[in-house]
């Protein structure tokens, strides 16, 4: 083998604390190394050209680059060696920046360490072999999970791009959180006027199939060929027939249960259509409160329905779809503010959440757009908004900023003034975070034009005083305590990961971060990709986001999917497990431990059981390789011999001239 070694200075990033020429010189004494040099920036165009030229001139058949972390530039250099005519797997990287130059102070130690890491890479490379990917076709269909604004945007963009789309929504209607909002910042335009047409487009698009009241039951397969089973929950109404006339809603005698769409500010009938613009506009029975389903009596809806579409016997239904890609747009939930003792933990009805306040502001809400406080229905005069409820607070394990609360609080202060010109808004805030187009101007308008009184400080306590709430807090700018007699307190609750995200993540093999939001492939360069090929993220399931950002991500994810499915064939990663069948004793331990079901039992020509890897399903984790006692199943590119070579390079065994 002829190996070339390139030691990158990375400007002074590496060369500052590693003697790069010395590392390069030492590499020439390593076995099979025929060429070694140091280079200023290996990843730059001249750097890559240098590698390509050396491969050609020196007839190299393997390349080692010692530079930054392979997580940064492994792909870059693999493409470079490919351009030079080598297989992309005949390349190894030694991480002498993040793991050496940036963490060690002593030049001498760093240089020795860099030399050893290069030596290790050389020993690994000596045992590499060219790997050729397999090609396979893709299913031209996309699954979008979640019908909030991000999911809607993604579905429409995919469908407009010519792909079939299956959109599933857990709730009875699509629209998500945005459908509940009254107005949106910073333009203060009507939320449903913006969203409504898009929801209708979903219903009418010939390429989109919508399943509401549906969830992902199971996921099989792999990028380009996912097999999805969808559970359509029983609605007890035949949606093929229901035309959403609403007669059943009017006649339903059981309407005492809280209405979740209205944030439990009012009640709803047991058979319901959540809001007038709902898509699909179909009635569904709540099995927890329906008298017929809980007690076996009633049945009025079935009697009044002109289309006879009520079916109390309806069962959940499983639907199988094959898709080539999945977009996850499952959104977020609101922080449960009851964890805070200082806000009364629910004892005071006039402390409400920002989302409840949206419903009070909304013309289609329980009060018809009149701001009336829950306790006595009076119009409030002094309204206190408290920001960062469940944001930027380590004590409740929510150290992150939810990002949009500053903006919607400003919006609500503005709308309050519009609704109640005599009112006075107070906003307790920590910092105003409004870094968006026209955002800062918007918050200033709330203060300057709408007279909202912004107090920088936290609220320490709220307690009732007569029919009012006394809000006590600090004004950290003035350095004083402040007290406000409030008629209504609105908590700007933060965002948290949606309930059920963890379970969905497990099915899709998408990791949640420590707060339950899904982790993107790279925080900067791959913001909508996940580590599972073919699964993409859109909207707040990846982290708190406002509407413009969610819509952008929806489009971005759609663009990624369209790019993926525009390819006739995909290539599978060849660094997968492979079975050396003569060595396999057919015990099936690998099959037992594979998390992906990527190994199946086959019979050899003598009928003996043997393991076989399904290339496209294997994700390359290597659990099987450790499970197999006879080492018959080896993860390509990370074989036992390759890793052992690295161990031996670091810990060379003692050699004896005489063993007697």
């Amino acid at each position: 083998m002829r190996i070339g070694v390139f030691i990158c200075h990375c400007g002074s990033n590496i060369a500052g604390t590693v003697d790069c020429p010395k590392v390069a010189a030492k590499a020439l004494t390593y076995p099979d190394v025929v060429f070694s040099t140091d280079t200023m920036y290996a990843c730059s165009e001249p750097g890559q050209d240098g590698i390509i030229a050396a491969v050609k001139e020196q007839q190299l058949d393997g390349v080692v680059v010692a530079s930054c972390t392979p997580r940064m530039h492994e792909q870059t250099f693999r493409r470079a060696v490919e351009r030079a005519g080598l297989n992309r797997y005949m390349f190894e990287m030694a991480n002498i920046r993040e793991h050496v130059s940036w963490i060690g102070k002593i030049m001498e130690d760093n240089t020795i360490k860099a030399q050893e890491l290069v030596r290790m890479a050389v020993e690994k490379l000596r045992r590499n072999r060219p790997l050729i990917p397999k090609r396979f076709e893709t299913v031209k269909r996309v699954l979008v999970i979640g019908g909030g604004v991000a999911g809607i945007q993604a579905a429409l963009d995919c469908a407009d791009g010519g792909q079939e789309v299956v959109l599933i929504e857990r709730e009875q209607s699509i629209g998500g959180k945005m459908a509940k909002l009254d107005k949106t910042f910073p333009t203060v335009d009507c939320s449903s006027c913006v969203l409504g047409p898009k929801m209708v487009d979903i219903a009418q698009h010939p390429k989109i199939t919508l399943y509401a009241c549906a969830e992902v039951e199971s996921v099989g397969g792999y990028v380009g060929n996912f097999h999805i089973t969808i559970r359509r929950k029983a609605t007890y109404v035949d949606w093929n027939v229901c035309n959403g006339c609403g007669l059943c809603l009017e006649k339903c005698p059981s309407h005492k249960h809280p209405d979740p769409f209205n944030e439990n500010l009012c009640t709803a009938p047991s058979i319901n259509i959540p809001f007038p613009q709902a898509i699909p506009k179909k009635a569904a029975i709540n099995p927890q409160s329906c008298l017929k389903l809980t007690q076996g009596k009633c049945g009025i809806c079935a009697t009044v329905c002109p289309l006879k579409c009520i079916d109390y016997e309806q069962k959940d239904e499983l639907v199988d779809v094959d898709v080539g890609a999945v977009i996850v747009a499952t959104g977020y939930d609101l922080f449960d503010w009851h964890k805070y003792p200082q806000y009364g933990q629910g004892r005071y009805p006039d402390i409400i959440t920002s989302m409840q306040y949206e419903r009070l502001l909304s013309a289609s809400g329980p009060t018809g757009g009149q701001i009336k406080r829950p306790s006595d229905g009076k119009e409030p005069k002094n309204i206190v908004f408290i920001q960062c409820v469940g944001s930027r607070d380590r004590s409740v394990d929510r150290p992150y900023c939810s990002g949009f609360c500053c903006m919607y609080t400003a919006k609500q202060a503005i709308l309050t003034k519009d609704h109640l010109p005599d009112s006075q808004s107070f906003v307790f805030y920590m910092d105003i975070r409004s870094p968006g187009k026209l955002y800062d101007e918007f918050t200033r308008r709330a203060m300057e034009e709408y007279g909202a009184h912004y107090v920088r400080g936290r609220v320490s306590m709220i307690y009732p005083q007569d029919d009012k709430l006394l809000v006590r807090g600090a004004d950290t700018l003035a350095g004083t305590q402040v007290e406000v007699q409030a008629d209504l307190v609105v908590l700007a609750v933060g965002a948290e990961a949606a309930a059920g995200a963890a379970q969905l993540g497990e099915k899709l093999r998408v990791c949640p971060d420590q707060y339950g939001f899904f982790v993107e492939s790279h925080p900067k360069l791959k913001p909508v990709e996940t580590n599972t090929a073919g699964v993409y993220l859109a909207g707040a399931c990846q982290g708190p986001k406002d509407i413009p950002a969610s819509v952008s991500q929806g489009s971005a994810a759609a663009a990624k999917v369209l790019g993926l499915l525009s390819k006739k064939e995909l290539e599978s990663d060849p660094a997968v497990a492979r079975v050396n069948q003569p060595r396999c004793v057919g015990c099936g331990k690998c099959i037992q431990t594979c998390p992906f079901g990527a190994i199946k039992e086959v019979a050899d020509r003598f009928g003996n059981p043997k393991a076989e890897v399904i290339d496209t399903v294997c994700q390359g984790c290597g659990i099987c390789t450790v499970t197999c006692p006879q080492g018959a199943i080896q993860l390509e590119h990370f074989t036992d011999n390759q890793i052992l070579a690295e161990v031996q390079a670091l810990c060379p065994p003692k050699i004896f001239a005489n063993y007697e």
């Binding site: 050396n580 060595r583 499970t627 006692p629 080896q634 074989t639 036992d640 011999n641 065994p653």
Partner: protein
Amino acid sequence: MSPLDDLKTAIKSRLGELDCVIGWEQGYDQLHATPLFIRSEADLDRLVIGPLAVHNLATYLPGLRGKKVGIIVKGCDSRSVIQLLNENLITRDDLVVFGLCCSGVVSHRKIRAALPVDPGFVEAVDLSTDTLSITASGQTTILHMADIAADKCQICQYPNALIADVLVGSPQESKVLTTLACQEEFEAKSEAEKFAFWQETMSRCIRCYACRNACPMCVCRDFCISTSRDPLWLGQENTPGENMMFQLIHVSHLTGRCTECGECERACPVDIPLLLLRRYMNKQVQDVFEHRAGTALEQTPPLLTFKVEEEGIKERGW
């Protein structure tokens, strides 16, 4: 009828449907038994059972896959059969298990140690319930079974076959003792002492792989990673280090699978106390996973599964 007669009758009635039944017969002298492959009723006459029938015959089963065989098992051997079944390495339908209720077997090593000179020329052996009398080179020595019983028998918890189509003999009680003094004594040594012990012990290992090939759970056999080039885990050089490495490969691969039958140690031609390692590992498995290999059908070896919350594992905090 004696258990041996019961056993012969039972085997006779099943022999027709089987390729062979594996049992024991007398070996090169009266003191040593050797495995017997019974293929005809004539072979059956040579069958012996008892304290000299030391071999765990389950070792042969994976190699006979695809054939219908019968096997005679002691309590400890039956654990190996169960473990092999649990690991899908043998087929229950192809197997007829003749179970014994075992009162223990001898340790030839202990017999040797009890005699001044190796009993190389055995003239007569006389067995009673509690004693073994050996006449060798003209001298007769009477040994007490309790002194020469194999270590595993002194702490035996499973004297009666746990799996059997036919069970002969009267069931025996499990032993009160569950740990061996010598094991505890060894474990109590300092790390440096243990290190030195293995260094010098492994310096006499000849890497003949008798321990591996006698082990009923070493099912890789011809494809053991210690003799392959790809993967290349082990050098061919006979140094204490490589010899120890082999033993550690063996133990590692037995984690949660070892049935503690002791065949490895018994097979070792240079008497390396390999069970010191096995028993310790098994104890760890028992402590962490509450698992004892081969004691129940349908068990999953603990390294082939996991729990999201591991009650038995306390990780180091940093």
